[in-house]
């Protein structure tokens, strides 16, 4: 192989693979297309054959959406979902790196911190199935069968994973940075907020993304805590909607689309950060 051709192959793009990957995108787009088309149709347009369901609506009708919003109490559910997600993200990013800082900087010196690390991280293997029944009792006891309880549970459940990510990342933050601050008379708190916290920015993004996706889409926790309270998150509203009005597909799909759009918009806006955040988390 001479120098010239090797340079050429290095710069040229692989067309067959690109084409295959483009074709594969159909598997992503088809379900979304189906959702949009059915959501905008009147029930009368849903003829029995497959084309009746899949072809573009004759006139794009918004009536399904207004009705679906009413039936699922959309704005209220949206507000609940947003409050839960935002609080979870904020608390995870505030509390979890603190735990990682206290543990990570002392793990080598003290058995207590080493033990705490093992104890907290092992929580990763506890399936929610074993916790859910006692958790329902416990939160009822503390009067936390509401969004506040859901947030607390998320902060506790995401701690093992986040602790692992943060302590892993903390190893890259040089100890000398804080030592310098300590020499200048800084306390642990000031050193943390002025040096450690800003230095862990990439990990904050990762943790925030994972917490946001997890909290926004979760069904189990709100179902068990707030299931009978009449107050819903977006996924919970879909669940209740489905058990009551499962016959009108156009209405149902309008409500699905309403539930998907906020997270899709969020994804489109922060796509770069989300993807690099997840990659960051994977590399550790």
């Amino acid at each position: 192989m001479n120098q010239k051709t090797s340079v050429k192959t290095r710069n040229s793009k692989n067309v067959p693979i690109t084409v295959l990957l483009l074709i594969g995108c159909i598997t992503i787009f088809f379900p979304l297309y189906m959702t949009i088309v059915i959501a905008f149709k009147k029930p009368a347009e849903m003829t029995n054959d497959i084309m009746g369901a899949l072809k573009l609506p004759m006139q794009w009708s918004l009536s399904n959406f207004s009705e679906a919003m009413q039936v699922t109490d959309f704005w209220h559910s949206l507000l609940n979902s947003m409050v839960i997600t935002l609080c979870t993200v904020a608390l995870c990013v505030l509390i979890h790196p603190l735990a990682a800082y206290a543990i990570g900087r002392n793990m080598k010196r003290h058995k207590f911190y080493k033990f705490s690390y093992m104890y907290l991280v092992s929580g990763m293997f506890v399936p929610f199935a074993i916790l859910m029944m006692p958790e329902a009792k416990l939160t009822a006891f503390f009067h936390l069968t509401n969004w506040a309880g859901v947030i607390i549970l998320y902060v506790v459940f995401y701690l093992p994973m986040d602790l692992m990510l943060y302590t892993g990342y903390l190893k890259n933050v040089p100890l000398s940075l804080e030592e310098a601050a300590y020499v200048d008379g800084a306390s642990v708190w000031t050193a943390y907020w002025h040096i450690i916290f800003p230095n862990m920015k990439p990990m904050h993004a990762t943790v925030a993304v994972l917490a946001a996706l997890g909290a926004w889409n979760d069904v189990m926790t709100p179902l068990i805590l707030m299931g009978g309270s009449g107050s819903n998150t977006l996924p919970l509203a879909q669940l209740n909607f489905q058990s009551q009005f499962s016959t009108n597909y156009n209405l149902a799909f309008a409500s699905y689309l309403l539930a998907l759009v906020p997270i899709l918009v969020f994804y489109l806006v922060c796509q770069k950060q989300i993807i690099s955040g997840v990659i960051n988390g994977a590399v550790k």
């Binding site: 189906m34 497959i50 074993i130 916790l131 006692p134 708190w189 069904v219 993807i275």
Partner: protein
């Protein structure tokens, strides 16, 4: 690592660290460890979720092993977990290789293939439920494929596979991204050196790429196995455990009969067994796969 020991651990600093960690430990104990212990204790009672209850010793555990419904849920869950783990990882690895090669619109394609992961499992399940109930049978009838012409979700021998497909559709996105980040850690000069020795195509993948991304394979296999074992949303939205309890996952059975069916104590025992099984599998996977990891 050459980490200096702090010269003289100041008392106040030590105390700060301790008081930062203490509330977090308490919170974690209260909402994770305590319920775990409670669940363990409930597993020795005949508690129905309300009213009074008695200690029944190991009876729940003894009953579990003779319970056909529980046995069924384990069979389904394991079949589901193994098939979807294999399917997800094979497809994600192929996708990742494609998305990591020199292609047009690389970042756009990566962005598109990650979309399923941001969508909620429940709603996706509802959408696919329509697809399996109406669209796929219509296609099957039109093409004259007998196997597709009736809804998979209504057939005891096919419903599980429909759930595999939906769950895979969602989790392939995350696994692909993890594999991409793994592929990016392989330095290109290793490939160049391999090319000189004649490693191209499949051989190159088998003897260079795969061994070097083994840590990522481990992460992906453990993650997807763990997630698949705990499958819930897709069951809830696609089949609710049916037809004829053929798709009842362990999580779904514990939720359904434990929370609503008055079997709080009994399903707690089921949950304890489930917990032990999950830990055992994860530890085994990490031990076995960890030993296959290689370093440059």
């Amino acid at each position: 690592m050459n980490r200096q020991k702090a010269k003289k651990p100041l008392g106040s600093r030590e105390r700060s660290y301790f008081f930062i960690l203490l509330p977090i430990l308490i919170l974690f104990f209260l909402f994770n460890t305590l319920p775990l212990i409670q669940g363990f204790l409930y597993s020795f009672t005949n508690f129905r979720g309300f009213g009074s209850y008695d200690w029944v010793g190991l009876r729940n555990y003894a009953d579990l092993f003779g319970d056909g419904r529980v046995g069924n849920s384990y069979r389904f869950t394991f079949l589901f977990a193994v098939v979807s783990t294999v399917l997800v990882n094979v497809v994600s690895l192929i996708l990742a290789l494609g998305l990591n090669s020199k292609i047009y619109a690389k970042s756009a394609l990566r962005g598109i293939y990650f979309v399923p992961n941001v969508l909620g499992g429940l709603v996706v399940g509802y959408i696919f439920s329509f697809f399996f109930t109406y669209i796929l049978p219509a296609i099957g009838t039109a093409l004259g494929i007998a196997d597709l012409s009736s809804s998979w979700l209504a057939r005891t021998d096919r419903a599980w596979f429909a759930i595999v497909l939906v769950a895979a559709w969602q989790s392939i996105a995350m696994n692909t991204l993890i594999y991409i980040s793994g592929l990016q850690t392989v330095p290109s000069d290793v490939y160049e050196a391999g090319a000189i020795d004649g490693a191209t195509g499949w051989k190159r993948f088998r003897s260079i790429t795969l061994p070097l991304i083994m840590p990522f394979v481990t992460v992906n296999l453990v993650l997807s196995m763990k997630n698949a074992l705990m499958v819930f949303d897709q069951i809830m939205s696609l089949t609710q455990g049916g037809p004829a309890q053929s798709t009842e996952s362990i999580s779904y059975l514990i939720y359904n009969n434990g929370m609503g069916g008055g079997q709080f104590g009994y399903q707690s025992a089921n949950a304890v067994v489930f917990f032990i099984v999950i830990v055992a599998i994860s530890v085994f996977q990490m031990k076995y796969l960890g030993s296959k990891e290689e370093q440059l």
